[in-house]
């Protein structure tokens, strides 16, 4: 199966391990993985702040770069939701609109792709640890993905998946929001981290690097022993 990797900019620079793991897992599962090298950003930061003009330029660029792809897979719910759902808001040109109509049905978040397209729920990984899972907002509510990652995690040998209280409550990142309302954002993250600490897990797993880095922002401040781990990295452990 031929797929194109879409690596969000924040993953590109801050968590390339996540991207590498995504690549390795997909390769192991027999996919022919390509990385359109001209890709940069899907336009989400501008879009969320209200800069539709700038976001549209990014979006059209993105669509052209991926126009030849069969499947697009990204280790992020948020950026997939941006392309799949929010591009609709952008008043795209006729030319890119038709690419969009096609691509929006062929772009998948990593765990969604594994479980629902490749039909893989167990990738024979092993990891002896207690983990808990945070539902990233756009993954959960825009893409409706919540069971898929849990299945993948539970099928890892040696792992204990602990329920996270209020797992579907936002971690407080919200891009621009965390800069415009830093106190509010931090208060939300504090609540999230309180729940994570109460769970007793050693690792918090999520499917979005942005949420994880935001959560880590408070974990580190508290000198917590709990570590963040992206689901792709978790599945690639020991590979």
């Amino acid at each position: 199966m031929k797929i194109s990797l879409f690596i969000p900019c924040i993953v590109d620079q801050f968590a390339p391990q996540t991207a590498i793991s995504t690549f390795k897992v997909l390769r192991k599962l027999g996919c022919d993985v390509d990385y359109p090298f001209e890709q940069t950003c899907c336009g989400q930061p501008a879009f969320n702040t209200g800069y539709h003009h700038e976001a549209k330029i990014c979006a059209e660029r993105f669509l052209k770069i991926f126009s030849k792809s069969n499947y697009i897979v990204a280790p992020s719910g948020s950026c997939v939701a941006m392309v799949k759902n929010f591009y609709e808001e952008l008043d795209l040109s006729k030319e890119t609109l038709s690419i969009y109509q096609y691509l929006k049905n062929n772009i998948f978040e990593f765990s969604d792709f594994l479980v629902n397209i490749l039909k893989i729920e167990n990738i024979n990984a092993q990891f002896n640890a207690k983990v808990t899972y945070h539902d990233s907002c756009h993954l959960l509510r825009e893409l409706k993905i919540s069971n898929e990652p849990r299945k993948l995690i539970q099928n890892i040998k040696g792992i204990e998946l602990i329920n996270l209280n209020e797992s579907d409550t936002c971690c407080g990142f919200g891009g621009t929001f965390s800069v415009k309302f830093p106190e509010l954002s931090a208060a939300m993250t504090e609540e999230k981290v309180n729940n994570i600490e109460k769970s007793g897990a050693d690792y918090v797993i999520a499917n979005d690097v942005s949420c994880l880095l935001n959560i880590q922002g408070i974990l580190k401040k508290r000198n917590s022993r709990i570590k963040i781990l992206h689901i792709a990295e978790l599945l690639a452990l020991g590979m």
Binding site: D12, Q17, F37, C137, D168
Partner: protein, 474 residues
Amino acid sequence: MNELDTKYFKKLVKEKLSDKSLRTIVKKATFHSLQKRNETIQNDISEKWEQLREKAYSIRKITIENWDYYFNQIKAKFSENGIDFFYAKNSSEVCDIVNNLLFSYKAKNIVKSKSMVTEEVGLNEYLEKFGFIVTETDLGEYIIQLANERPSHITAPALHKSRSEIGFLFSEKLNIDYTDAPEKLTDYARQILRKKFLNADVGISGANFLVAETGTIVIVENEGNARLTITLPKLHIVITSIEKIVPTLSDALILLRLLPVSSTGQKITSYVSFINKPEEEDNSSKNLKKIVVILLDNGRSKLISDKKLRSILYCIKCGACMNKCPVYQLIGGHAYGSVYPGPIGSILTPWLNSFKDSKDLAYGSSLCGACSEICPVKIDIHYQLLRIRKYSIEKKFSPFIEKIIFKIWLQIVKNYKIYNLLSNILCFLGPLFQETGLKIPVWSKYKYFPAPFEFSFHKWWQREVKTQEEYANV
């Protein structure tokens, strides 16, 4: 500070965040409502909740899309039923209409049951200026009136107050011994309010639905105070907004299945009143009681004509989006400085009031979408927040520095060579900050900000994969 001014939003957010007891009260109250809501949906609603939401959504959509039609229909029905009807363009028109009515009835004492639209209009302050004695009769509203505050929630106006606060308030204002026992406090209030009802010349209420096919006014409540407001005085004035119309009685019944559950977790409220026409006093049809309906527009018809924005008016004012909102849970309703707080307030207020002064409300959200998910009429609330942000940028209300940042950002992401060059520089410097993290103004005061990794994925791909014909060495 409970000022009704959205300009102070950012300041109030900080202030309310440091009020830990407020946070505990709000969290507890919203949690309780949500829990009851979820239980009721699971145990007591026979239809599938999502199907019910879908039906409610299409009822609201059809109504708002054909609003002119239903508006004319209900106007005709009102006149057929002997109900006087006024359309008010703005708040001051509502005040004038009410004032004239009260003068012509030589009224002095007015009882009110809950109506957020009268809050929007600022009716109480206006009437008090003219010497009318206005009493709120919903317990929550009564508490708020005693405390001289504003509602902090659309269905639970005194949600931000603890039991003991209410106890002290009653003891101070009503001159009674302190108690925080809810039954006792309710009893005191009831005694006082009974007298008010008996002396009232006019009753003012809101309405939950106005049924176009029959001209029926539907009012939902739990305390029986609305029913007394409606029935005891000679004149009953209904004040609500133009979007409250629903086409048929059976539509209203469907919405009624969703409204109480979403608000308080009740399957149905203790009282639901359906008012069709004025009642006859002492059985003589000459001596009719009078009902007057006033519908406030205040910018809403503009929203109705905008395809992308009109879903805001699907709202049935259940308050669930507030309960579920992680921001509301932390700061409570007063922080917003708007009549309608929480998610629905943030998307409605900028279009009703000064856009420039209230646009910040739309930025005070992480766009998590929990509001849209819980909304019984499926309003795309977080998309509406984004539309306000867009409009705000189009109107050039954004900070200068932000504009510059996005201009530069665009030049970078438009060209992958520049993007990669900068990204490589960042990643090269990254290891220097591995321990301390980056120091980002404001952010770093609260959270650690990670340093970029020592190489980017682009770089890795170039090094490890792109140069290999096969993936052999990976």
